[in-house]
């Protein structure tokens, strides 16, 4: 069993890329008083690792992502990336939300180039790069299409390209495929792996889907709600590149069973009525 229940920091070998140390978040003065979104959690992430966070609504996984991005400040504890403490918006990363957040008034290519425009990067190089990214997600020919002319899956692919344009060392994804149909979802998982395999990038990926987390990740972090805590960290020992057929692999189904069991024990799934 490579499962371990833990509350303390798991110290990865070598120097961790990202270190989350006893980080908690309480939202003060809401309608129902203070809300404890995240009880102190600790987690180390290695460089180049693909980590998924799995858990039901209200388990604080999005809060954790916001803390990593520096868009929220922790109530206590600290987050360091390469030894440097995160405070205030961190722009050395790419971010993808459940909604694609494409700008209606820009074509696909211009939406990706926004990243370079804001950063004041060399636009010529950026454009070549953006076209290359579009090609990798099979969107050649859609450079000038407005978001309203694209399907949900295409839009989300554009938004992933936008997040990768500046070659960030860290990619944060908040349920990026949650709004897509199952088939589009499978394709995007493959596209995402393809994009990540080509670069040295650490991915912090939030999802509701057990198979998606297993399929994509090196490690799956299970969180439980009210207040948000880490319940379990599961290493996924499957070879890369991963193939869709692997989902029938006994090892894969074993992981699914294990995580399903965890959620049953947490009361997330109830089978008896």
């Amino acid at each position: 069993m490579n499962m371990m229940t833990q509350t303390m920091a798991e110290v990865a070998e070598g120097d961790p890329h990202i270190r989350i140390e006893n980080v908690s978040k309480t939202f003060l003065g809401g309608k129902k008083g203070d809300v404890e979104a995240l009880r102190p959690v600790s987690l180390d992430i290695r460089r180049g690792e693909f980590v998924s966070v799995l858990g039901p609504s209200g388990c604080g996984k999005s809060t954790l992502l916001m803390l990593l991005s520096g868009l929220l400040d922790p109530t206590a504890g600290r987050i360091t990336i390469d030894g440097e403490q995160v405070s205030g918006p961190n722009s050395n990363l790419g971010i993808v939300f459940q909604q694609d957040v494409l700008l209606d008034w820009r074509g696909a290519l211009d939406n990706i180039l926004l990243q370079a425009e804001i950063r004041g990067a060399d636009m010529k190089a950026a454009e070549a790069k953006a076209r290359e990214l579009l090609e990798m997600v099979s969107l050649t020919g859609f450079e000038d299409a407005y978001p309203r002319e694209l399907s949900g899956g295409m839009r989300q692919r554009v938004s992933i390209c936008r997040a990768l344009l500046h070659e960030p060392p860290l990619l944060l994804m908040d349920e990026p495929f949650g709004a897509l149909d199952a088939m589009t979802r499978d394709q995007l998982q493959i596209d995402l792996m393809h994009l990540c395999a080509k670069r040295d990038i650490t991915v912090f990926f939030i999802t509701h889907s057990i198979p998606e987390a297993i399929f994509l990740s090196d490690r799956v972090v299970v969180m439980k709600p009210r207040p948000g805590r880490i319940e379990q960290v599961l290493d996924i020992d499957l070879p890369r590149p991963r193939r869709l057929a692997m989902r029938e692999d006994p090892k894969f189904t074993g992981y699914v069973r294990e995580l399903t069991q965890t959620f049953k024990s947490l009361g997330v799934f109830r089978e008896e009525h």
Binding site: P89, S91, F97, D104, W105, L114, Y146, R148, E149
Partner: protein
């Protein structure tokens, strides 16, 4: 049936079809209404001082053109000046309402509340203050048209989602970039909805102002013609002011299509 004699008829039908479909259906409804009007007046011998026929009104526009044109220009300049000033006041005000908590809480509710004051009731007061020249007319046009621009611009500028702002910050965008690259383009459709509405209101404002007190403008001509029971002349002035209003509305709509091309895409594709 043989196909050969059928050919010219079909060609003529084709031509007719093209002429008819060149104009929108509503245009032909209007044509029908005008024909009906003409028919009723002619067949039932309705006297001109009750309801003139469309042809009589057209004749009146022709013969009275030397008075209609200069007065139309007066009204047009009141509208143009008042509307432009309204835009210049309303849009920066909307920006300050969105960006400043103090203005949003201390000024914005008063602007909304001020809309319950009937502008027509205030007009005589403005005359007392600003005299009988252009100024009170321009002020009334501003008062009429500024409100929908403010409200719609505020709504548009607030339409930026939290995710858009997170994204902007993750790119390291500064406040200026967030405004120009995110907030403002996002607001444009709503701003234009306000601008379009304001064109109609600015025309109403100019006419009301001219009713209250002046010796120039289409509103004045309508008033004088009314006093003389000259219905055809009233209609002539009404038609000119309507054309001004339609042209103005059309101009702003055209500007909207030019500045917001991403919204029109499917409609254009659908036409093909």
């Amino acid at each position: 049936m043989s196909a050969i004699p059928d050919q010219p008829i079909r060609a003529r039908n084709e031509m007719l079809h093209r002429v008819v479909t060149f104009m929108p259906p509503a245009f032909w409804t209007l044509v029908c209404l005008i024909i009906f009007w003409q028919a009723v007046v002619t067949l039932r011998n309705v006297p001109e001082y009750i309801l003139p026929a469309p042809t009589q009104i057209a004749g009146e526009i022709g013969s009275y053109w030397h008075r209609l044109l200069p007065n139309a220009l007066v009204t047009l300049s009141e509208i143009a000046l008042g509307y432009s000033l309204a835009v210049l006041i309303a849009i920066p005000l909307a920006v300050s309402i969105v960006y400043s908590r103090v203005i949003r809480r201390a000024v914005y509710p008063l602007i909304v509340l001020s809309q319950t004051v009937p502008k027509v009731a205030v007009a005589p007061l403005l005359l007392t203050w600003f005299g009988y020249g252009m100024t009170p007319k321009i002020v009334i046009v501003i008062m009429m048209s500024f409100f929908p621009i403010v409200i719609n611009s505020v709504m548009g500028l607030r339409a930026t989602t939290p995710e858009m702002l997170y994204l902007a910050k993750s790119m390291g965008a500064n406040g200026w970039q967030i405004f120009w690259k995110f907030r403002l383009p996002k607001a444009l459709p709503s701003v234009f909805a306000g601008l379009r509405l304001a064109t109609v209101l600015s025309v109403i404002g100019a006419i009301i102002a001219e009713f209250i007190g002046t010796d120039k403008g289409l509103g004045y001509l309508i008033l004088i013609a009314g006093a003389n029971f000259d219905i055809a002349r009233q209609f002539a002035a009404i038609i000119i002011i309507t054309i001004i209003g339609m042209g103005f509305f059309g101009l702003i709509s055209w500007l909207e299509r030019t500045m917001i091309p991403w919204r029109e895409q499917t409609e254009i594709a659908g036409e093909g």
